[in-house]
Symmetry: C2
Amino acid sequence: MNENSPVAGDDAVAIARVLANDHVADIVEALNREPRETASELLCEIPFERVVDIFDQPELEGASELIEALPRDKASKLLAAMSVDRAADLVRDLDEPARSELLGNLATPLRATLLSILGYPEGSAASIMTTEYVSVPSSWTVGQTLDYIRKVERTRETVYAIYVVDPKTNVLLRATGLRRLIVGERDDLVMDIAPDRTPVTVSPLTDSEKVAQLISKYDLLAVPVVDHGKILGIVTVDDIIDIMTQETTEDVHRFGGMEALDEPYMKISFLAMIQKRAGWLCALFVSEMLTANAMQSYESELERAIVLTLFIPLIMSSGGNSGSQATSLVIRALALREISLGDWWRVALRELPTGLVLGSILGVVGVIRITLWQYFGLYDYGEHWHLIAATVGAALVGIVTFGSLAGSMLPFALKRIGFDPASASAPFVATLVDVTGLVIYFSVALVILRGTLL
Amino acid sequence: MNENSPVAGDDAVAIARVLANDHVADIVEALNREPRETASELLCEIPFERVVDIFDQPELEGASELIEALPRDKASKLLAAMSVDRAADLVRDLDEPARSELLGNLATPLRATLLSILGYPEGSAASIMTTEYVSVPSSWTVGQTLDYIRKVERTRETVYAIYVVDPKTNVLLRATGLRRLIVGERDDLVMDIAPDRTPVTVSPLTDSEKVAQLISKYDLLAVPVVDHGKILGIVTVDDIIDIMTQETTEDVHRFGGMEALDEPYMKISFLAMIQKRAGWLCALFVSEMLTANAMQSYESELERAIVLTLFIPLIMSSGGNSGSQATSLVIRALALREISLGDWWRVALRELPTGLVLGSILGVVGVIRITLWQYFGLYDYGEHWHLIAATVGAALVGIVTFGSLAGSMLPFALKRIGFDPASASAPFVATLVDVTGLVIYFSVALVILRGTLL
């Protein structure tokens, strides 16, 4: 492709062919691969209808910058033609003055809708809902509903979920699916063919993760966002899939001990990457400095029994590893609501014996290791080698138990004070356990080695 | 509730009321809370139609044990009435002889279908597909198709995705949605109202994670599993949501350094929990023993400069933390296909400068810490304290850079040899980096401190 005029000559023909046949998701992927200016130029060559489809895809990168580059009147037309939830996403990312200018050009009802969606906090059900759903009065028949759907189909994000409301109060009464309408008789009341139960709904401020759980649990195609009984909008299953993917990314990044990246790894700027990683790394580093303090306070013991230092890395890492296991288990169980905040003591009662058994297993392995090395002359731990072995073994029991307990309680503590439990990253747990691990190790050593080495 | 007869008297009335109105997902949740024997008893009181709905929910725990407890003829009727993909799941979990007995009781075509689904490897698209989809010949009109859907609706998992096949060869030609049929004229050919493009399909052996990605990318309600052009079955969006949730759980557990639990945290037996955790913990412990070997080989340096030991935990954890960050970034970028195996060198070229900058930041913080402590008399690092500070600073640059590089390359290496990159858990990376970290630290110390302390 010619770098200066990417859409000239043969390319234009090729692009036209792609646009006619390719799925819009593939076109978006192709646009994402181009530099932003090329993508901007390409968009000018594409028929308006298709541009609307493209901007409707949440996967389009830099959509707000692309829309800013368009002539204002075209951009406004685009916003009006897009699905409402995507338009709200876009406007949210727009900078001033483009934001006010574009909103000013919109028809008053649409502007009001967008502003009300934008008024809800990010991550809430209302902030990701679309107002383009199908609702009909309970007095309508199946035939009337089908005729109505035929008319409005093009302007609705989904027509598979149909909401039946009270004709006077507009309060949501029932939810049904298009498949039930198809099977029903034209003269049946839509109210009668809908399942006879209160629909699953969420409130505007429900967390989007909770919305995902409900959609997954009840196998829904959409869930209505309801305020005082009236529908404000719906959240559809494909929005939820995108949110689940994004949440997993955030959790993995946080669990790795860093701020979640909001851009793909290869696209984020070097500086942004350093910023996202350096903060946590420094915080962990500063906390970990406590280990140096702990070591300093045991300096005289260290000098008398230098052999103790050999096992410091081994012992510390075991505490970190057992803590990391416990944390990941509890984070996930909390996320899946297998356990709730009030279950902390039941978890503690499970982790205590688990930690003791795991610690004993590692302790035995550690004692065997030291005995073998001593026995085969691979290393000489001195005349009191069996006491050293006992110290290492006993310390491992204590540290693994403490690691399991601390690691499992940390997500509860974080959740209790309002943080995401997934922030309890492995490095965070390890740092917490490291200092305590040193204290446990040297305390055990003082007890077992007093009168001999110490 | 009376422990001995949980469904007697008033309870029976209460349960009947729940069954009539509650969503099946709520009933499943209630059953999951009961001990298995009570659940089994309760199931006998529930009308057959409702039992089918209950067993169709993948969330039902111990479904294979529950079906084994039923009389064989009822169990066979249940398997026949369930959706095919769930029936296959259930049969997969059944033990002999129940499995053969139940399969033997089924009608030949259903048995053949189940056995063919069971023949595909776990985690493949075909192993999770259902054969209950809607496909029509391309010669049919919209009216014919709608009449057909009306007739078969009850027996199909979804009727929203409609597949148009060649009437002679049965080869898949087009995919369309029920909404297009509703809008079309009854006399239109179904082929003409379908979007004019090759449908998105997967092959029977496509990995279920890849299926999830396609459904998410193209916002599909279902994707057909196709072999030699013909549809074998479809995978629906709600199956994919369940799989995404399960994959996330597995990844979080693996990332925490343990085998993924396949049961909820509070339900898994104590012994199974120990087994899942002890294996990895021991493996990491044994690898980490190398740190003891590394320390032993530097014993004479340690004796001469005991002050060096003070910073060992700090330095080792920094390597582990930076490695953990890099690993989590790369695991996620690989999972989202932002990068592929061949991009390893581009990632290395990003991680090298990132590691150097992050290491320098930590190095400066470390030097400041030592200087401050020395200056304010909080600790006396001896006359060569500035050399100690230089050693710690330089070692941090080396270790963080190595940690970032090793952590980012490990997922590539695992993927290359056929493992899940998510197995590159934080503890695994930390263990890898710990030994190298010690070697780097003491090597730097030997260079900087030679002639003074060492």
